[in-house]
């Protein structure tokens, strides 16, 4: 089996497995997995920039929030239906990421981290400042009745699950395909050795710009998806915490692997869900696990698997 066939098999197999899981899982886990898939979409977007391009952003919550507010406000105040609202969310996220990229990409390394962090902080404060429309920290609820596509209620657990899965599958396949094309390889080239890549004749700035916009737009799609599927929009999702989450998920799952983000989100979600059932000190357990992972599985879960057993993993 060639490298590309194995990769195609892996991704389609994963999606097929998720389709089957939708039918067999108990309601509770079905609901969890729907959330995990939406958040994993966010992580997939983050991974494009961090995992593949090597740019560490600490402000991705602003893109997630741009999609979320763009979509949510269009529905809540504009009375727009789901599909056009999602498109509006995507446009907001794409526009914001383009503007941020043009400014932030003038910096590198730690300065890039801080600049993205501060832009995100401004977006967060703006969401609070415009409380009259955004509901500030309290946020707002999107009416249950309006959350439907062509008569299919997104509030129905199974419909919601497949909607979340579609969102994730699209993001996964786009990025997986991208990473097989020259464009994706150039991003990896930028990550591995920016100067070398420039001296091979690639316009590094434009590639980075594209990476930020693609990454931000996928994050925005996840935000818009969260608003539509779970019916709540609030400033919490624009806070620093939600910028750090995707970093953690990706590092946990394995940066620069296509399926790492999903594994990372699922691992973290169930770790907290499970640990909180045993003790209130689940943060302690989460902290300890993070420390152990850094000590013994530096490449993340999927990354370690790739390093030890399956070097072909995309």
């Amino acid at each position: 089996m060639s490298l590309d066939t194995r990769s195609v098999t892996l991704h389609l197999g994963l999606i097929a497995a998720l389709i089957v899981l939708g039918f067999v899982l108990p309601t509770y886990h079905q609901g969890n997995l729907a959330r995990i898939l939406v958040l994993a979409t966010y992580a997939v977007g983050y991974n494009v920039l961090f995992g593949y391009t090597g740019l560490l952003s600490l402000g991705h919550a602003m893109f997630f929030a741009a999609g979320m507010y763009g979509c949510g406000l269009a529905m809540h105040l504009g009375g727009v239906t789901v599909i056009p609202a999602l498109v509006i969310g995507l446009i907001c996220a794409a526009a914001l990421s383009a503007v941020v990229a043009l400014l932030a990409l003038r910096t590198i390394g730690v300065a890039f981290m801080i600049v993205t962090l501060m832009f995100a902080q401004s977006v967060y404060l703006t969401a609070l400042y415009l409380g009259e429309w955004t509901g500030g920290d309290e946020g707002f609820v999107i009416a249950q009745a309006s959350r439907q596509i062509a008569g299919y209620a997104l509030t129905d657990p199974l419909t919601r699950y497949y909607a979340a899965l579609s969102l994730f599958a699209i993001a996964l396949l786009i990025t997986a395909r991208m990473m097989q094309m020259s464009f994706g390889r150039v991003l990896i080239g930028v990550r591995e050795n920016e100067e070398r890549t420039r001296m091979l004749g690639y316009d590094v700035f434009r590639h980075k710009l594209a990476a930020v916009v693609i990454s931000g737009t996928i994050a925005g799609a996840a935000g818009a998806g969260y608003a539509v599927l779970f019916g709540y929009v609030g400033a919490t999702f624009a806070s620093v915490q939600y910028s750090i989450f995707p970093l953690l998920w990706v590092l946990l799952g394995g940066m620069g692997t296509t399926i790492g983000p999903l594994v990372g989100v699922a691992f973290m979600f169930y770790l907290i869900d499970y640990a909180s059932g045993i003790t209130n000190a689940y943060m302690l357990i989460a902290g300890a696990v993070l420390v152990l992972l850094t000590l013994f599985a530096r490449a993340g879960i999927v990354g370690e698997i790739r390093n030890r057993w399956a070097p072909w993993l995309p």
Binding site: R185, I188, E192, N193, R196, M199, L200, G201
Partner: protein, 230 residues
């Protein structure tokens, strides 16, 4: 017909003129060696030619076009290629990926052909960082060659190569000659003498001498400044 021309090219580092008003021409199809003692400004000079280092003053013309204002990648796209003095391959990627990035396409046959020219074709799936140092240098050269440039800039390509590998390298460069113009920075004088059509000697940022290998060999200034030390 001149492929490359610099006019008054200058680079100033904190008051120090590392390259000082260099006027230089390079004819199409020629193999030209740039030599000089350490710190003479060779790498800075080719850095400005390729666009890695912005020029403080002066102009760079490539194939009849003023490229001074163009960024490096745009110059590369116009037909330059540059190999680094310190090996700059993608250490964590496979040889295939390295060469494919240089080629700009993921065509297996073409990648194999490019690697074949430096004798690394059978290592295509290996991770570049795992190669021996000499092989890494060869990969670097293969990446330059794979771009099928009109001007190939090689910054100390034979550094760290074994004798037998240097022989292969010489053969490779001779094969390229004619189609590709080559600008070579080299310390190894036997390589220079074997390959170069013409030699320019840089010292403290200025051109000290220019001529055929024989002329340079006979030049007393060069003897003093450079060869004498070695």
């Amino acid at each position: 017909m001149m492929l490359l021309e610099t006019k008054g090219l200058t680079r100033i580092y904190g008051g120090l003129r590392a390259v000082d008003t260099v006027d230089y021409t390079l004819a199409k199809g020629e193999i030209h060696a740039l030599i000089g003692p350490n710190g003479a400004g060779k790498s800075t000079f080719v850095g400005m030619v390729s666009g890695r280092i912005p020029a403080s003053e002066g102009e760079v013309w490539f194939d009849g076009e003023n490229v001074t204002a163009l960024p490096a990648h745009a110059r590369i796209q116009r037909g330059m290629a540059y190999t680094f003095q310190i090996t700059a391959i993608y250490a964590r990627l496979s040889l295939f990926d390295n060469v494919a990035l240089a080629l700009g396409q993921r065509d297996k046959a073409k990648v194999r052909a490019a690697l074949d020219r430096v004798g690394l074709a059978n290592r295509m799936e290996q991770i570049a960082g795992d190669l021996a140092y000499g092989h890494q240098r060869l990969l670097e050269i293969a990446m330059g060659v794979a771009q099928t440039p009109r001007l190939l800039i090689l910054d100390e390509p034979t550094q760290g190569l074994a004798e037998s590998e240097i022989e292969e390298f010489n053969t490779l460069i001779r094969e390229l000659a004619g189609d590709t113009t080559i600008l070579l920075i080299e310390h190894n004088m036997s390589v220079v003498m074997a390959l170069a059509d013409e030699i320019t000697v840089l010292e403290t940022g200025k051109i000290l001498a220019r001529g055929t290998p024989a002329e340079i060999h006979a030049n007393a200034d060069v003897q003093n400044a450079y060869l004498g030390t070695g």
